[in-house]
Point group: C2
């Protein structure tokens, strides 16, 4: 196997290992080929990095092909030449009249590529529930390749990504420094009368600048800062209203390095927090400690959730939703990897160098609190990526 | 029809008109119901605004229902109560064990909602090629509702969005001030030795801060700044390398106000630009003038493209891709509306208050130049949203 030039932070051996692990999973799933449309998976297998995922594109992997093939819009071919490890022969573009057209669809062009590579009568996996692989994509492929058998490969490549390499951990460790710096800045800046948009601006700038040694990358989710009654709504974004006194704000951000994320959430209260919120914060901190105490190789994802749940239920609190998920390489709209979820039904066995965002928020009817930690399973237990006070922050006003 | 509380910038009458126009298109397409998963369309019809589109969610519209129904993750119900115009009865959440699960799928819960509203044997439109409506979503719906007939509604609601209201134009006019401010800042700051990430940070912060009167919102595409050989790759994002002397950089940004985008691109050269680039800039500027001279109500989208193409072909230049697209309300991954494309095959008749990003870039093998304008079709012709020099910017170094 021979790769072309590229500017990715990983060496050739790492890409070869990723491809080999992907092919092993494909073989186990009895797939001859796999159409990869998730931008994070495309990056993982080829190095491709560009904001071109708003048009159809894919990486084609086949057991019989030495290398993945990049497939995308013609005007993004140069971007693929610049950022991927692939030789030009394995970078193919479709013409622009396929883009958002009512008469042509990019998956018709992908079907031609699949034919040209001798795969038109094979068992072909698709990422059926991934963003960017639309219902129409599958319909067009089925129509164009009547002899192929399409199977839902689920999040096959995402699972290959679950255990991080040394180089990936190194990037996340760099990202963690950006995370700490950004959260510190946010907590320093928030105050009564500060406009939400001005805090968001400072968060974005701090995270993108990164450090003097290395820069930050864009997060797959914008800074979230639900405030006041909004803290019961974890996913609303900023407005230009000023922060008010006697209200809490949950700040959720991520430092990002070369697409690798280390998220963090902290809640800040401006004024004197009500007793119930102080108590909830104590419970959350206790619950985090309880959960991290059981997170280690061999434990199940659900064990971590159970430890958290037991700890908060002792205090009469509940949280129905999952309390964490796998995290790492990603693109919008999500920094979560869509594999491991820390919840009662997830029986994933934790392994060293799995990385998760442990996100034990409690959202009640009209207020909420979250304190999260990005964690790495170590050979003997767990480590947090960040070193940051685990508490409700209170600023007098 | 009665709506609940909401914090959207639009009044009740505007939402009623949007719904009426959507229903008229549905009736024309012989659809009884429509499942809307595009976050911009969801916002347009209900006001819903939150970064929750990384899990399945939808707005259900039916000819026989007075109001749209919001459907999403349980923990986002409060966000819907806060941001939409809907009463609680029309906001429905699914339980968290549906999220990224291998055993349950949110579309099963949507099927139950469709049954509960008496629509399970109807003709139901889906946005088959929209981001966020996956192949699996359709498969699950077909399985759960065997008596329904699912039809590809294409970009039906996107087309309803094509002609902007006065209130929407007002937001885009505000966004344009942010666009100008941000581009000015970017051109002032870029220089030899400045790290790409530091420029990106300043762009993000300036755009998010907005003005002293109103704040900015996040763009559906991050700032793009391909530089040097990268200018031949329109969609690569920033690294932490410094900008080099004797190289061009194409800066593409958008000012955003309450999700309404006004994009702009300018190319900056650090040093003394080669003759061919200066000439190309002159040609592009000439081509823009030629194109805008024909953009008016009654003209076709392809007429604008033809005027641009004729102008640059006179100088021996070509651009195969479309030179513009509809723009306005949006969420990642795209600020384009996926309806009108300025290209040779698009026969859309331009109407007053259609808004477009006229984006006539020229990308050659190892360099490129782009100068773009966000435009509005006026009753008699065309107007640009921004007032910004239309030229290649050159900074000595």
């Amino acid at each position: 196997m021979e790769f072309g030039r590229n500017n990715t932070p990983f060496d050739k051996a790492e890409f070869e290992a990723r491809l080999a692990r992907t092919k092993a999973r494909m073989a186990a799933a009895e797939l001859d080929a796999l159409i990869v449309c998730d931008p994070a998976n495309m990056n993982y297998l080829t190095g491709y990095d560009g904001w071109s995922f708003y048009v159809h594109q894919a990486v084609l992997v086949a057991l019989d092909l030495d290398r993945p093939v990049w497939f995308g819009r013609g005007q993004d071919v140069n971007g693929a030449r610049l950022t991927t490890i692939l030789p030009d022969a394995d970078i193919t573009g479709y013409s622009d009249d396929h883009v958002q057209s009512t008469t042509k669809h990019p998956m018709q062009a992908l079907a031609r590529l699949i034919e040209a590579r001798g795969l038109s009568a094979k068992r072909i996996g698709v990422e059926a529930d991934s963003y960017y692989f639309t219902a129409k994509s599958l319909d067009v492929l089925r129509q164009e390749l009547p002899n192929a058998r399409f199977e839902d490969a689920g999040v096959l490549v995402n699972w290959v990504r679950a255990v991080k390499s040394e180089a990936e951990i190194a990037l996340m460790t760099q990202a963690a420094r950006i995370t700490e710096k950004t959260m510190r800045k946010a907590i320093d800046m928030i105050g009564v009368g500060v406009r939400q948009c001005d805090l968001a601006a400072e968060i974005q700038a701090t995270a993108t600048r990164g450090t003097t040694e290395y820069g930050g990358d864009y997060p797959a989710i914008v800074p979230l800062m639900p405030t006041g009654v909004g803290t019961s709504c974890p996913h609303i974004t900023w407005l230009d209203e000023p922060f008010a006194a006697q209200a809490g704000t949950s700040i959720e951000i991520a430092g990002v390095r070369r697409r690798y994320h280390v998220p963090m959430t902290r809640t800040v209260y401006l004024g004197t927090p009500p007793e119930k919120m102080r108590n909830a914060a104590d419970v959350v901190v206790e619950g985090i400690a309880a959960a991290l105490a059981v997170a280690r190789p061999g434990a199940l994802a659900r064990d971590v959730h159970a430890a958290w749940t037991r700890a908060i239920e002792r205090h009469g609190l509940r949280k129905d939703s999952r309390c964490g998920y796998a995290v790492g390489l990603n693109y919008p709209p999500d920094w979560g990897e869509r594999t491991i979820s820390l919840r009662s039904t997830d029986e994933t066995v934790l392994e060293p160098d799995m990385t998760l965002h442990f996100m034990p928020g409690i959202w009640l009817d009209d207020w909420g609190i979250s304190i999260s930690e990005a964690i790495r399973i170590t050979p003997t237990g767990v480590a947090t990526f960040c070193d940051f006070p685990r508490q409700l922050f209170v600023k007098a006003c």
